[in-house]
Point group: C2
Chain length 109, copies 2
Amino acid sequence: MNEVTQLDAAFAALAHPARRAILARLAQGEATVNELAEPFEMSLPAVSKHIRVLEGANLITRARNAQFRPCTLNAAPLAAVAEWTEQYRHIWDVRFDTMTEILKDLEGK
Amino acid sequence: MNEVTQLDAAFAALAHPARRAILARLAQGEATVNELAEPFEMSLPAVSKHIRVLEGANLITRARNAQFRPCTLNAAPLAAVAEWTEQYRHIWDVRFDTMTEILKDLEGK
DNA sequence: AAGTTAATTAATCAAGTGGTTAAATAATGC
DNA sequence: GCATTATTTAACCACTTGATTAATTAACTT
């Protein structure tokens, strides 16, 4: 619905390195909470909370399989973030400016 | 230096709609605090704090000009965010998968 | 039924966020 | 020097975040 709050939640969720690491792991396939928690030093409840934040931002979806709750990556909010960021690309992408100048030069002749 | 905390700060700063609006304004050229505050209903100190967060994430740089402190957009963290996000593009970009399949088909023949 | 494994909830805590109003600082212009 | 304009700092408040340990729920295994 609201594009703004969707982006708010996505950006906020991505602001923590543990959550970005969890997403990186999920990019290679679904994983359970324990699997996701394994690389971290923090407690399981802490990881559980991070997962909840990611879920709240719709960055992951959770299923049920016996006592496991496998998580899968959800692309849509990442696409929204990419789309938002792309609108600023011309600011840092020097090649962009160079290219448009070259094209203008060519048209001018 | 530390790539992770740089991204942390950038994502956290981008998580607030007012701060994204400020960046959008600065994308069109430098502006003073009062100019940046004008579209918002919140108080000037509140805007000042948002600006400080953006500065902390290195998303803007501040100069001095008499009693004004003009802000300018800083592209580097946005580029870092874009780069981070791009690594997930293949997950949502269906055209990517379609394209690679087409290429595989062509090679197979 | 009892034990094990997976995950969440509860209670707690310190620190951070986002906002306010009121006061202070900085620089300009008369 | 004094008033004005631009901006920040201070003090405060409610709420959220990120973490902990201990307890609980859920589902499988024997």
